[in-house]
């Protein structure tokens, strides 16, 4: 049931040419200059703390996240070197514990979520044909909060005070008794802080997607990546509060002696596990779902045909979002919960394979018989297929309780989740980096280096993580800093370490490629990949206002329609002397109103500082809660205070 593209044929369009209803619009140079001026971001040192334009903030998220990807990756390499031989003494146990905790936390909270949000913030507004996010200042606030929170967290490693209770930070191990010192305190407050940033991005994405779509882009015509971002944002809204509550309760336990997780006081450590995994399981789908959207986008472009089964894919994405909230207990199969409940979660965990399977079949159908262009983004997508499906298969295995109890806390799990996380999320993200790089910088990344990078990543990844399945089945537990020679695990571990070096070389090639192409990359043509979505309907890189005119959309592949028809309808009547965008209705994208967006300002940065005072201050004295309450209040007043002359129309 392939969906026919609903674009009118050239013949019908040429009939309409007869009608005098559509006089052509010529762009006025003076008007364009004024538009550029209105939407320009400030420059200079102070100016760095002021821009609110969606592409600048999105790019900052992406760049910062990749910095953490490299740093946390280096920690991973260090751990692999330690495990290369039995009874190795490269890393002390204490340091090893800090490394795996920071590696996991940073990869999840500092890299994966922000990088996918970053791509969504960068791409979605352009893809739906608008000029900025609905709340540009909140967007900037979210970035500073993320930058400060992640920076403070990572600095703890440099001073040797990083947390060492693992990325899920189980009590009682993370309680004051077993983890004295600031490490876990910083973990809990900074994680809350970074989640605030994720939540602001989520609300903005939801509102921007539902209210600012170009006229005519009904929900049914929304690009799949936008659908995926929307589902991700909804999942963040309902999942992240659980980790915020959990870590707030933990910090209270640690700072003022409350007893939420202390059995002697009537608390319960399992409460932590429930709250954490109620967030933690949706979390892995939060970083998977937008990556699946990237896969759909890249496949459509590089096969040059409409996606097969658009409706089925969208429904699958939505279903994944819902079902992911019913899986958290499968992380707790070994805690002795009632059997009936566990059976439910076992069934739900197997069920999630269905929507994901549907998507894989739709992609195969799209690629079937197409003349595929094997550029780097597409190669990474093909790599994603292999790796992600492998991870999905082991996922179905560990969803079964009897099997799970055998491999619980072994390297089999480590292999499984690296297959789904790197395969399901990192590989599409790298593909997306190559794909959208022209819109970020105006240049293309080197294809040769891209192909080398893909080869190294694909081989290195499988050599690193495939042997871990076997190590897990042989009983090697995760999170041990060394093992005895008699266990016989030495050879496979050595193989994994060699693989990890190759894998790192592959990622490094892409990072160097991205930096070098800034300077030496080939200048991008307009719409270099021949894509169909609106982010390509403008120059590379786009001007500060994204598109000269907000377009009117009539199908799912507007850019291809215009290619065929050689004309396009646009919105007129937006002022160029202030930041105006069209507000449309949620379902049918009919114009409803015009929103006047705020310009650049320093207030979001000041608000982020005010919040930082509170989050770091309470670790030392409770009074900082009150101090920060009022600081934040004053900064918000400064942020929202209407400037004279008050807007009159």
């Amino acid at each position: 049931m392939e969906e026919r593209r609903e674009a009118p044929t050239r013949e019908r369009r040429s009939e309409e040419h007869q009608e005098p209803l559509h006089p052509a619009i010529e762009d006025d140079a003076e008007e364009t200059r004024r538009l550029t001026e209105t939407w320009a971001a400030p420059t200079g040192f102070v100016g760095w703390f002021m821009p609110v334009n969606q592409r600048i903030i999105g790019r900052r998220f992406i760049v910062t996240a990749f910095v953490y990807f490299v740093l946390a990756g280096l920690l991973g390499i260090a751990m692999r070197l330690q495990l290369a031989a039995p009874e190795n003494d490269l890393l002390a146990p204490e340091i090893y514990n800090q490394f795996f905790t920071v590696h996991g936390t940073a990869m999840m909270f500092l890299f994966a979520i922000p990088v996918l949000e970053g791509f969504a913030l960068f791409v979605v507004p352009m893809m739906i044909g608008t000029r900025d996010m609905a709340f540009p200042r909140l967007n900037a606030f979210g970035y500073y909060v993320y930058l400060i929170g992640s920076g403070v967290f990572f600095l703890m490693l440099l001073v040797g005070m990083a947390p060492k209770a693992g990325w899920f930070n189980y009590v009682p191990l993370s309680g004051k008794l077993y983890e004295p010192g600031l490490g876990v305190d910083i973990w809990t407050t900074m994680i809350t802080f970074i989640e605030v940033s994720a939540l602001t991005a989520a609300v903005e994405l939801i509102v921007t997607i539902l209210k600012l779509r170009a006229p005519g882009m009904t929900l049914n015509r929304m690009p799949v990546f936008v659908w995926a971002s929307l589902v991700m944002a909804f999942m963040i809204v309902f999942a992240m509060p659980a980790i915020i509550v959990a870590s707030s309760l933990l910090i209270l336990d640690r700072l003022v002696g409350t007893g939420f997780f202390v059995p002697e006081m009537g608390g319960d450590p399992l409460l932590w596990q429930h709250l954490f995994w109620f967030f933690g399981h949706p979390e892995v789908y939060i970083i998977l779902v937008p990556a699946l959207g990237m896969v759909s986008t890249i496949i459509t472009t590089f096969c040059q045909r409409a996606l097969f089964g658009y409706t089925a894919i969208v429904m699958s994405i939505v279903a994944t979002g819902f079902v992911s909230f019913g899986l958290w207990v499968h992380h707790m199969f070994a805690t002795g919960l009632p059997h009936l409940g566990m059976s439910f979660f076992m069934a739900a965990s197997a069920l999630i394979a269905i929507p994901n399977g549907i998507q894989v079949f739709c992609w195969i159908a799209t690629m079937w018989g197409s003349r595929m262009r094997l550029a780097t983004p597409m190669l990474y997508v093909l790599g994603f297929f292999w790796v992600f499906v492998m991870g999905g298969l082991t996922g179905v295995m560990v969803a079964s309780i009897p099997f799970d109890l055998q491999v619980h806390d072994t390297y089999f799990l480590v292999a499984h989740f690296h297959y789904v996380l790197i395969g399901g999320s990192v590989m599409p993200v790298i593909g997306a980096l190559y794909y959208w790089y022209p819109q970020m910088t105006g240049r293309m990344m080197s294809e040769t280096a891209g192909k080398i990078s893909f080869g190294l990543v694909f081989v290195g990844f499988n050599v690193t993580f495939f042997p871990m399945h076997q190590l897990g089945l042989e009983g090697m537990p995760r999170r041990v800093y060394t093992y005895l020679e008699e266990t016989g695990w030495g050879e496979l571990n050595l193989v994994a370490t060699i693989g990890s070096v190759v894998l790192a070389a592959g990622f490094a090639t892409t990072m160097v490629n991205a930096l070098a192409s800034l300077r030496w990359g080939e200048t991008a043509r307009r719409n270099p990949w021949g894509a169909e979505t609106l982010e390509w309907a403008t120059e590379s890189p786009p001007p500060p206002y994204n598109q000269r005119h907000i377009p009117v959309v009539k199908s799912r592949e507007p850019v291809w329609d215009w290619r065929e028809e050689d004309e396009r309808p646009v919105v007129v009547g937006l002022r160029s002397d202030r930041r105006e965008v069209v507000v449309t209705s949620m379902l049918d994208a009919e114009p409803q109103a015009v929103q006047v967006l705020p310009g650049p300002t320093i207030w979001p940065f000041l608000s982020a500082l005010a919040a930082t005072v509170g989050f770091i201050g309470i670790l030392f004295h409770p009074v900082f809660f009150v101090v920060s309450f009022f600081l934040a209040f004053f900064s918000f007043v400064g942020w929202f205070w209407p400037r004279r002359p008050w807007q009159e129309d």
């Binding site: 559509h22 006089p23 619009i25 609905a134 709340f135 909140l138 939540l199 989520a202 609300v203 939801i206 509102v207 921007t208 209210k211 006229p215 809204v237 309902f238 992240m240 509060p241 915020i244 509550v245 959990a246 209270l252 003022v256 002696g257 409350t258 007893g259 939420f260 006081m265 009537g266 608390g267 409460l271 429930h274 709250l275 009117v552 215009w562 050689d566 004309e567 396009r568 309808p569 646009v570 919105v571 007129v572 009547g573 937006l574 069209v582 507000v583 209705s585 114009p591 409803q592 109103a593 015009v594 929103q595 006047v596 309450f629 209040f633 007043v637 929202f640 209407p642 008050w646 129309d649």
Partner: protein, 200 residues
């Protein structure tokens, strides 16, 4: 490529209310906070239902009178806020200011009653999990009422300066939305903290 006018938006309003993205944004904020409320209630119920005795031996369930009075005050303040919004729609600036100040006074009264009630608790937050929950959830709601008060005071100052008109009243509309959330959030807490221990 030829471009033609597909739609003209010069006549559309720049003063949208319910259709303004900010309205949807505040609903998003409320959705997040409602999830936090739900998580706190779930944590409370989880520990209540797994405990052998709730509240711990020697304690009676917290008295009902003042929390119930507070519930009445909070719900009334939703009505006064609604009234304030109606007044500015009718172009009555004095009515708006009066309504905002009445609502703020009701919330301020709630803060006083809550503070007295918490000061009279026979337990501390570090005595047992029950105490931890009572103090944390009360503190959470107290902070929210306080922020609703200061936020609405700012709206009142803008009202005094003549910023709001029947057209330009998005600020009042979204402040009312958040106000209603803060006031109504007391209902689940009230049921869980004061009726929960009596009903199990």
């Amino acid at each position: 490529m030829r471009q033609f006018a597909g739609t003209d938006v010069s006549g559309l309003t720049r003063f949208a209310k319910q259709t303004h993205p900010l309205y949807a944004g505040i609903i998003g904020l409320i959705a997040i906070e409602l999830t936090v409320v739900a998580m706190l209630v779930v944590s409370y119920s989880y520990l209540m239902l797994t405990a052998p005795e709730w509240p711990p031996a020697g304690l009676a369930p917290a008295p009902l009178l003042w929390p119930s009075v507070n519930l009445g005050l909070l719900l009334t303040s939703m009505v006064t806020m609604r009234w304030a919004g109606n007044r500015i729609t009718a172009g009555d600036r004095r009515g708006l200011i009066l309504g905002l100040l009445a609502s703020v006074s009701l919330h301020a009264l709630v803060l006083v009653f809550r503070a007295l009630e918490m000061a009279a608790y026979e337990f501390r937050w570090d005595d047992h999990a029950y105490g931890s929950l009572m103090w944390t959830i009360s503190g959470f709601h107290f902070t929210h009422v306080a922020s609703a008060i200061v936020g609405t005071l700012v709206v009142a100052i803008l009202a005094v300066k003549g910023y709001f008109t029947p057209e330009r009243q998005l600020g009042v509309v979204v402040d009312t939305l958040y106000w209603n959330f803060v006031s109504a959030a007391w209902i689940p807490f009230y049921l869980a903290l004061y009726w929960g221990p009596r009903l199990i």
